[in-house]
C-alpha cells in the first residue's frame, strides 16, 4: 500500500494523478447525496453501471458517484462532464437514453431543463438561473469528487494546502493568514476563526489540546453541513490538520449527529484513507508533526450543537450547556483547551490556503468575507443549497436564484437562522445577508437555513411551530428557558385558537425579553426571536387573531371555515377527496360543506381546479 513519507512523496503522487487524469473522456456525474438517493439516485447508479457494462462502454464513458450538487428541486439530476450538460429529474428510462447519448456525444434536447420564465431549454448547468448567480467555491468541488476516493480529492488540489503549510513550517503564519482572510465561524455566532485559533495556540497545556468539528446540524430545514460532509469529507479533514498544525492541538474530534449515516460512512472511509496514505496520524508526511481525528456520534439533541453541551456530550455526559466563561478555549473536553469550529468553517480553510488569504478577504463586504452556503426551502421554485458571497441581498437569493414564489401567491417573508432566527418581511428583502445586518433586524445568520414563506403562511402559526420545537429541545436546565418557551408556546396556542387576549399579547412580549435576558446559552437567548420578530413586523396578524378571531392567512384551524362558492361546477372531485365525507352535492350541482363534519384538512381546496373552495 502506498505510504507518503515526505512532502516530496505527496507532490510526486499529485503530479502522477494529474497526468493520469484524462479530462476529455465524457463522465456521467450522478448526484447521490442523501437527497439524491432519497429521490432515486441509487437506481440511476445501477442502470448506469449496467448500461456501461452491457454495451462495453467502460473505457469510453466514465461515471462518478458524488455528493449533492445543491439543486434539490431537480433531484435526481445528472451532470455530464466535461460538457457541463445538466439533466434534471432523471428516471430509469431517461437514464438509459442519457448513457447512450453521452457515448455518441449527443445532447438530449427533450430532457433538458426548461426555464420556467422563458420556456426555453437550457443545456449547461452553469447557465441555469439557479447556478448562474452563485459563487460555488465550496460546493462546486462536490461534482468533481467521489467522496470515498482520496485520489479524486488530491486531483482537485486536495491536501496541497496542507503540503504547502507543512513546507512553510510556521504555525504563527498560518494563524495570521486565517486572520487576514477575515473568516468568521459559520456555525452561527460569526466569531473570527483566526482569533479563536490564536487563543488556542496561546494555551499552554502539556496534556494536550482538542480541535472539534461541530457537525451536529440540528436546525430543521438546514443541511448545508451534511452536503459538505457527504460530498467532500477530505476538505474538512485537511482543514482540521492545518488547524492543529497552527494551534498545536493534539487530538481532533468530529462530533456528528447519528441521523447522518451516509456522512458518517464517508467520514470513516475518508479518515481511514488519509491515515493509510500518511496524511493523518503519526508523523504526517514525514514532517514530525502528528495529529489524529476520531468520530463521536451525537444522539440528536439540538442543544448538543451548543459548544459547551457538545463538550459534555463528547465526554459521555448529559448534553447540557454550562456557564461561559470559562470558554472552551480555556477549559474544554476533559478540561483541556478546546477550539470548536463548524463544518463549513473547516471546509473554508483549505480554500484560503489554496487561493491566498488576501484574495479570500476580498470576497464579500468588509468584516464578512467569503462565501456562505444557504439551504433555501419553503415556497420558492428552486429549493436547494445556494452558495453566494456574504453580503448578497436576500432578494437575489429568494427571487433570482430561488426563482421567486412557487405559486401565484406572493412571498411574504423569509425566516433565517433556524428555529431561533427571525422572520424578515418581503419589504426588507433589500437587506444584505451578513452577520451584522441580520442581527440588526432581529434575526440571526445561524448556520444558514432560509425558509421562504408566502401569503398563505400565518405568522402566529410560524412562531408557534418554532416555539414548539424549542420547548422540546431546550435542555431544560434554566428555569426561564424551559418554562419560558413552554409559556410562550401556551400563549401562542391560545392566540392561534382564538382564545387569546390583548393582555396576553403584552405578557408574551414581556416574557420574551426576560427569556432573552436570563438564559444561559444561545438556545435560550435566541429562543424568543421568532416571537419578537413576528410581533415586530406582523403585529396586525396577531391582532386579527385576537380582536377579530380571524386568521388572515387561513391557516389556524380554529379560526377558519371552508365553504364552496359559485365557481363550483359540481365535478364531485372535492366530495371524493374529503376524508370525513363532509361534502354533499350531486353532479353539476353546487356542493356544500357540512361544517359539523369538516375537520379543516384543506383536502378539498387542494384538489379543486376551479378555485371554488373559500377559506375565511
Amino acid at each position: 500500500m502506498l505510504q507518503l513519507n515526505s512532502i516530496e512523496d505527496f507532490n510526486e503522487l499529485r503530479r502522477r494523478l494529474l497526468t493520469d487524469q484524462n479530462g476529455k473522456i465524457p463522465t456521467i456525474v450522478i448526484s447521490a447525496g442523501t437527497c439524491g438517493q432519497a429521490s432515486g439516485a441509487n437506481d440511476l447508479i445501477r442502470i448506469t453501471k449496467r448500461e456501461l457494462l452491457n454495451n462495453n462502454l467502460t473505457g469510453r464513458v466514465k461515471y462518478r458517484i458524488t455528493g449533492c450538487h445543491g439543486f434539490c428541486e431537480m433531484e435526481p439530476s445528472i451532470l455530464v462532464q466535461p460538457r457541463g450538460t445538466f439533466y434534471p429529474k432523471v428516471n430509469m428510462e431517461k437514464m438509459i437514453r442519457i448513457v447512450e447519448a453521452v457515448n455518441q456525444g449527443k445532447v438530449l434536447e427533450d430532457l433538458l431543463f426548461v426555464d420556467p420564465d422563458t420556456g426555453k431549454r437550457i443545456e449547461k448547468q452553469n447557465d441555469l438561473p439557479f447556478y448562474r448567480n452563485q459563487v460555488r467555491t465550496i460546493l462546486a468541488s462536490n461534482e468533481n469528487i467521489d467522496p470515498i476516493r482520496i485520489y479524486d480529492y488530491i486531483q482537485n488540489d486536495g491536501y496541497s494546502a496542507l503540503a504547502a503549510v507543512l513546507e512553510w513550517n510556521e504555525p504563527e503564519w498560518v494563524i495570521d493568514e486565517v486572520k487576514v482572510s477575515g473568516l468568521r465561524g459559520r456555525g452561527g455566532a460569526g466569531f473570527p476563526t483566526g482569533v479563536k485559533w490564536g487563543l488556542l495556540a496561546e494555551q499552554k497545556n502539556g496534556s494536550g489540546k482538542y480541535l472539534v468539528c461541530n457537525a451536529d446540524e440540528g436546525d430543521p430545514g438546514a443541511y448545508m453541513d451534511r452536503s459538505v460532509l457527504e460530498g467532500n469529507p477530505h476538505s474538512i479533514i485537511e482543514g482540521m490538520i492545518i488547524g492543529s498544525f497552527a494551534t498545536g492541538a493534539t487530538e481532533g474530534v468530529i462530533y456528528i449527529r447519528a441521523e447522518y449515516p451516509l456522512a458518517i460512512k464517508h467520514l470513516i472511509i475518508a479518515l481511514r484513507r488519509a491515515r493509510e496514505l500518511g496524511l493523518l496520524g503519526e508523523n504526517i508526511l514525514g514532517s514530525g508533526f502528528s495529529f489524529d481525528i476520531s468520530l463521536v456520534k451525537g444522539a440528536g439533541a439540538f442543544v448538543c450543537g451548543e459548544e459547551t453541551a457538545l463538550i459534555r456530550s463528547v465526554e459521555g455526559k448529559m448534553g447540557e450547556p454550562r456557564q461561559r466563561p470559562p470558554f472552551p478555549v480555556q477549559k474544554g473536553i476533559e478540561d483541556k483547551p478546546t477550539a470548536i469550529n463548524n463544518v463549513e468553517t473547516w471546509a473554508n480553510i483549505p480554500i484560503i490556503f489554496r487561493n491566498g488569504a488576501e484574495k479570500y478577504s476580498k470576497i464579500g463586504p468588509e468584516g464578512n468575507s467569503g462565501t456562505k452556503i444557504f439551504s433555501i426551502v419553503g415556497k420558492v421554485k428552486n429549493t436547494g443549497l445556494v452558495e453566494v458571497p456574504m453580503g448578497t441581498k436576500i432578494n437575489e437569493i429568494v427571487n433570482n436564484i430561488g426563482g421567486g414564489s412557487v405559486s401565484k401567491t406572493p412571498i411574504k417573508a423569509v425566516q433565517t437562522g433556524g428555529p431561533s432566527g427571525g422572520c424578515i418581511p418581503a419589504n426588507m428583502f433589500d437587506l444584505s445577508i451578513d452577520y451584522d445586518s441580520l442581527s440588526k433586524v432581529g434575526s440571526i445568520m445561524g448556520s444558514g437555513g432560509m425558509i421562504v414563506m408566502d401569503e398563505n403562511t400565518c405568522m402566529v402559526d410560524v412562531a408557534k411551530y418554532f416555539m414548539n420545537f424549542l420547548k422540546d429541545e431546550s435542555c431544560g436546565k434554566c428555569f426561564t428557558c424551559r418554562k419560558g418557551t413552554q409559556r410562550m408556546y401556551e400563549i401562542l396556542d391560545d392566540i392561534s385558537s382564538g382564545k387569546g387576549t390583548l393582555e396576553q399579547l403584552d405578557l408574551l412580549e414581556e416574557l420574551a425579553y426576560v427569556v432573552k435576558d436570563t438564559t444561559m446559552c444561545g438556545l435560550g437567548q435566541t429562543a424568543p426571536n421568532p416571537v419578537l420578530s413576528t410581533l415586530g413586523y406582523f403585529k396586525d396578524e396577531y391582532e386579527a387573531h385576537i380582536k377579530e378571531k380571524r386568521c388572515p392567512a387561513g391557516v389556524c384551524k380554529e379560526l377558519i371555515t371552508f365553504s364552496i362558492n359559485e365557481n363550483c361546477t359540481g365535478c364531485l372531485v372535492c366530495l371524493r377527496s374529503c376524508p370525513e365525507n363532509a361534502i354533499t352535492g350531486s353532479k353539476q350541482e353546487l356542493h356544500i360543506i357540512n361544517q359539523d363534519k369538516c375537520i379543516k384538512c384543506a383536502a378539498c381546496k387542494s384538489v379543486c381546479k376551479f378555485d371554488a373552495v373559500d377559506v375565511i
Partner: protein, 229 residues
C-alpha cells in the same frame, strides 16, 4: 486579588469568588433558589441574575455561577434585573404555588400578579437534591433525565436505587417540598395573607378565630383614624 465594582462600591476578592459571594459580603441582597452553601453552583433557577458591563454590552448573568473578573462592573438591582426577577417569580408561582420558599420570595419582591395558566408541579428542577445526593451524600442515587418539557429528576429507570441510603437529604433541601400555609384560599396562586395583602384584622370576617398580636396595630390605628378617631 481581583478588583471589581458592585453597585459603585469597590471590592477586592480572591480569584474564584462568585459575584454572589462578593455581593453578599458587601451586604447587597440577591435572591437565590438553586444555590446552597456546600453544594456546587448550578445556575438553574436564574433568580440571582445581576447586570454586568455597560451600554450595549450590558447583559444579565447568574451571580451564583459567574466568577469575579478584574474591572467588572456589577449592578445587583438595576431596573432590568428587577424586571427579570419579578417575571421569573411570576413564572415560578404559575408552576409551583405550593412552595413556601417561592411564595415568600414573591412576596418580598412584590410580585402581585400571576398571569399564566395555573399549574401545580411538584418540582422546579432546581437540582438541589441531585447535588445534595451526589456531593454531600456521595451516593449519586438520583439525576436528571430527558430534556425540555420532559426533563425530570429521578432514580435510574424509576426503580429504587441500590445506592440510596434513604437519608432524606434530597427532601430536606427541596424548595418545592416546603409547603406554604394555604391561608383560607388554597387554590389562589399568590399567598393571600400576612406578607402580601392586608393584615388579618382588616378582613375580620375571614379571620373569625384568629387573634391579633399587633400592639399597636397600624391598620387598627388607620381604621380608627378613618372613622373619625
Amino acid at each position: 486579588m481581583i478588583n471589581l465594582t458592585i453597585n459603585g462600591l469597590k471590592i477586592s476578592v480572591e480569584e474564584g469568588t462568585t459575584i454572589l459571594e462578593a455581593s453578599t459580603f458587601l451586604g447587597f441582597p440577591i435572591p437565590t433558589l438553586c444555590n446552597m452553601e456546600g453544594l456546587s453552583p448550578y445556575g438553574a433557577c436564574r433568580l440571582c441574575v445581576v447586570e454586568i458591563e455597560e451600554g450595549t454590552n450590558a447583559k444579565l448573568v447568574t451571580s451564583c455561577t459567574y466568577l469575579a473578573e478584574e474591572g467588572l462592573k456589577v449592578k445587583t438591582a438595576s431596573s432590568r434585573v428587577i424586571k427579570a426577577r419579578k417575571m421569573i417569580l411570576e413564572l415560578m408561582l404559575a408552576s409551583c404555588p405550593q412552595s413556601k420558599i417561592i411564595q415568600d420570595l414573591a412576596s418580598t419582591h412584590e410580585v402581585r400578579q400571576q398571569r399564566f395558566k395555573q399549574e401545580y408541579e411538584d418540582c422546579i428542577l432546581c437540582g438541589l437534591c441531585v447535588r445534595m445526593c451526589e456531593e454531600q451524600m456521595m451516593a449519586k442515587a438520583i439525576g436528571f433525565r430527558g430534556r425540555g418539557e420532559n426533563r425530570t429528576v429521578g432514580s435510574p429507570f424509576d426503580s429504587k436505587s441500590e445506592v440510596c441510603r434513604l437519608c432524606g437529604g434530597c427532601m430536606y433541601v427541596c424548595p418545592a417540598c416546603q409547603l406554604r400555609c394555604t391561608y383560607n384560599e388554597p387554590e389562589k396562586a399568590i399567598c393571600g395573607g400576612c406578607a402580601n395583602l392586608s393584615p388579618p384584622c382588616i378582613e375580620k370576617e375571614k379571620f373569625d378565630d384568629m387573634m391579633c398580636y399587633m400592639e399597636p396595630c397600624v391598620s387598627c390605628e388607620i381604621e380608627k383614624f378613618n372613622n373619625g378617631g
